[in-house]
């Protein structure tokens, strides 16, 4: 009995490619995988100094920024304190001046109060 599966196997026996196929493939290889186009890793790879710089540059920049911010803050705070101290001294001087003026005014007022009143005119005494 003729089996169609056996017929298929027979009809589909592998066939050889045209002569020189392997050679054509081999000739095509260098075009796609030419070693000359491959850049050696040693060139691509970063030198230790560059690699270390690339690795630590961002943290170093952050640390520097932080230090600058701290010192600037301290300087501003010192200036502010000096400014406040000067203002305080000026205020103190003004206060002392004001107190002195007030004291003088009070002295004058006190003297005026202590001074004996002038005698009334005689006409007025007769009328009463």
């Amino acid at each position: 009995m003729k089996d169609i599966e056996e017929s298929l196997r027979r009809a589909m026996r592998p066939v050889e490619p045209p002569q020189g196929f392997a050679e054509r493939v081999m000739r095509a290889l260098p075009e796609r995988t030419a070693p000359a186009n491959v850049v050696p890793l040693s060139i691509v790879r970063k030198t230790p100094a560059v690699a270390a710089w690339r690795r630590f540059s961002v943290p170093a920049a952050l640390a520097a920024s932080l230090l600058i911010a701290v010192f600037t803050g301290q300087h501003v705070a010192t200036l502010q304190a000096e400014r406040e101290e000067q203002a305080g001294l000026a205020a103190s001087r003004e206060l002392m001046q004001a107190l002195r003026v007030t004291s003088q005014k009070l002295d004058l007022a006190y003297e005026a109060v202590q001074r004996p009143a002038p005698a009334p005119p005689a006409e007025e005494e007769n009328r009463s």
């Binding site: 009995m1 003729k2 089996d3 169609i4 599966e5 017929s7 298929l8 196997r9 027979r10 009809a11 589909m12 026996r13 592998p14 066939v15 050889e16 490619p17 045209p18 196929f21 392997a22 050679e23 054509r24 493939v25 081999m26 095509a28 290889l29 796609r32 995988t33």
Partner: protein, 188 residues
Amino acid sequence: MKLESAQADTPLLLDRARRGDQAAFAALIRMHQSSVFSIGLRMLNRRDAAEDLAQDVFLQLYRKLDSIESIEHLGFWLRRVAANLAIDWLRRAAYTRGTPLEEGAEIPAPQADDDPLMDRELLRLLGELAPAARAVMVLRYQEDRDVAEIATALDMPVNTVKSHIKRSLTAMRGKMIGAQLITAEELP
């Protein structure tokens, strides 16, 4: 290098090819070129397209040599890539059906029990199958692979592979009977 001795030393060849030995890679091509070219020929029905496909497969192999684990893996890898590439090409309609095969070029050398008319008709019917079904039939009857391996190679469930085989055989038998190349009594 003789093919027989090359086959005996295939693990060594693979190792040498991985290390950049071009002669070893050429030997690997010669060992597998018939299988890969025939997959392309049965799938695409054109010798020029089959040669292009086979060349593409071997160039891909050259780039992926480091990922090939063993000789068995090499054969499986080549069949898988060839079949899937052919399906892709067919789906992109670059190599659609209808182009006549070159006279006598696609039929293997005749043997004693050959029936050239039957063979030609079977190959014509094979060319009428959908790309996935055709790939299943090629791997099953040309490459003599089992359904599990075909399923893995084509990334489809085993039952789908079985279904493709059954439906394709039924369709081919029906058309062969219609063409009076076989009779209903000859069905298994």
